[in-house]
Symmetry: C2
């Protein structure tokens, strides 16, 4: 499998750190006003803390400068369709040559049905019948694995293509994370952003394959599932009251300290060791690495550990300008830095987070790649 | 790949057709009472129609006798964990031999995070580390494709196993569909039920493979996405008001007539023709067929078309006793009729529905299979 092109789209609406802090402050005032109205006590210092942040705090502890928010009427499918159509346009591949869509997202446009992958088939203009009116085969699947979604989705495409089941697959990494923000908790409010990406995966002869099946590595620790969780809205606890909504119980929560405690040592040490060992690679073979951009300061910790163990490569990021776009972070960093993706360079893409989960892939760029970002 | 075992679990709580009609009647009265309170008109005859049903009507037009509903504190992960632990117990495979979980569901336990596949790793007691404390590789992915979810998930397992990436994968098909019912519309209220299934997929030498990559066939028609849809609760329209909840806008809706109009001719004719042709099979080679059990009367239409075209096999169903359990229907029918799964029999599993989507697979049973149902 080769990657022929990567397209990214981010909504125009820029949200600065200053604006995030103002929004949290407004929420704090609202809570105090409501408490007064209900005859309850005002928030105490400790309770107020989760509403307090600033541009300086966010830049220092997270490393993000700004992020983009989609419009109210712009869903995950719209972010993805914009990126996917851009991909087709720039790579010149006709929609009729696409054999399927692997749609990676943690914020599906619809609960239950319809799947975003089916919707995208329509948005790409791929017909459901052949010329003779027989049903046209088309592979759709929606995949999700929290922050590791994109690498897990890419692997599904790799399995389809490397077994000859498909020639061209569009892998989506798209999330409208703004729809998941709990404005009464700075943990995710300070980091999340929206973006859509589309990656063209195409068949090549085995000797030109960028990947190998041993280049994919996966890890999970389900006992830490509650570290990053949306308490309500799933089948475990459906949204059932107005309080669920006003108190953001159907929005994401995170124990940030525990995420760091668990993931930094893993990804910084035995995780990357296991991934490299499985593939038979060494740290010094890596020319480029991209980490899931959850928190640039935490990633810096991980990279420092790598450097101590011989990593000499270059790190690509979205420069802290888009926040944590979950399923979009890794392809977004590539779309923004296409000039760094030269033939001959070896790369590592490492995603990790909710689940807890981790998914990584190693590869070598063997063909020129078309990148484009409408941001 | 072979299938070593299939386990199914359904909650104890039996819901008869009579009870469904009573629940819909109660809802109709509630709406009229609310309308009176608000000074609005009572429901007219046409509006009342969607609340009216009976045991006779459901048996005649849908073919279901009863279904099971999970308890409030029983989520999709609980249905799946029960089935998966039963699977391990009956097949005798140690948890430590499982390389991964492909979790097929349209009702994930949590929105966004954590993924059910990670949670199941923990519920199975699979460790996240090896004996030497290095991180243990484990493959997790949550897959979704509306009513075609289970076949799409099975395919992911097939790709992992047939490429040597994994030896033993547990494929889950589990749904708590009762959490998606709109009690102001009989369309889905009369059909949906809850169940969890777990299927053990294991590596075998190529000559013993039950499947072939050409045995999988997929189709999609995203332009019909709105035929089966949950209007609110996804990233396109988050739940935002109490009315969204009381008026069930975050629950499933279906244009049943259009589903039939689109799917019966497709699955009954060119769909199965395309699936057979791709695999190089003929209709008369099929010993057993299982259709996604959305509606037994509609399925009868499809099967009649098949019989006219030479199908002479046996149909397995869940006998209308469990309703439409979405991702669980096909493995549930097998778990209930394990005595029919003799070595040498060739089968077709055909799923279709929301998206619109269809996914089918052909295979031959080449090893004894252990089935168990706790229902």
């Amino acid at each position: 499998m080769r990657i022929g092109g990567i397209a990214a789209y981010a909504p125009r609406f820029r949200i600065t750190n200053r604006r995030i802090s103002a929004r949290l402050r407004m929420e704090r005032m609202r809570v105090n006003r409501e408490n007064r109205f209900k005859g309850l006590e005002q928030l105490d210092k400790k309770q107020e803390k989760v509403y307090k942040t600033s541009d300086r705090w966010i830049q220092r502890f997270i490393g993000f400068k700004e992020r983009r928010f989609a419009a109210d009427d712009e869903a995950t499918i719209d972010l993805a369709a914009r990126a996917a159509n851009l991909l087709l346009e720039k790579t010149g591949i006709p929609a009729g040559d696409i054999d399927g869509v692997v749609f990676g997202t943690v914020t599906p446009s619809y609960l239950n049905s319809p799947p975003d992958s089916s919707l995208l088939q329509d948005r790409l203009g791929v017909s459901s019948s052949n010329g003779d009116q027989s049903p046209r085969e088309f592979h759709c699947i929606d995949c999700s694995l929290a922050c590791s979604t994109w690498v897990a989705s890419l692997r599904h495409a790799y399995l389809l293509i490397s077994t000859g089941a498909a020639k061209n697959i569009v892998v989506i990494g798209a999330d409208k994370m703004s729809s998941t923000i709990n404005w009464r908790d700075r943990a995710f409010a300070t980091v999340l952003g929206d973006a859509g990406t589309a990656t063209l995966c195409s068949v090549v002869p085995p000797e030109e394959d960028w990947f190998d099946r041993n280049n994919f590595w996966n890890w999970s620790r389900g006992s830490d599932g509650q570290v990053i969780v949306t308490p309500k809205g799933g089948s475990s606890q459906p949204v059932s009251s107005m309080d669920d909504i006003t108190e953001y119980r159907n929005k994401l929560t995170m124990d940030g300290a525990l995420v760091k405690e668990r993931m930094v040592p893993l990804v910084g040490g035995p995780g990357i060791d296991a991934a490299l060992q499985k593939a038979g690679w060494n740290m010094d073979m890596l020319d480029i690495a991209i980490l899931h951009e959850a928190n640039l300061v935490m990633n810096e910790d991980i990279i420092n550990r790598w450097r101590k163990n011989g990593f000499k490569g270059q790190i690509l990021t979205a420069d802290g300008m888009f926040g944590n776009t979950t399923s979009a972070t890794i392809p977004l960093a590539m779309a923004l830095h296409g000039d760094q993706l030269q033939v001959g360079r070896r790369f590592l893409w490492f995603a990790f987070g909710g689940g807890l989960s981790a998914a990584s892939v190693l590869g070598e760029i063997k063909h020129p790649i078309i990148t484009t970002a409408e941001v």
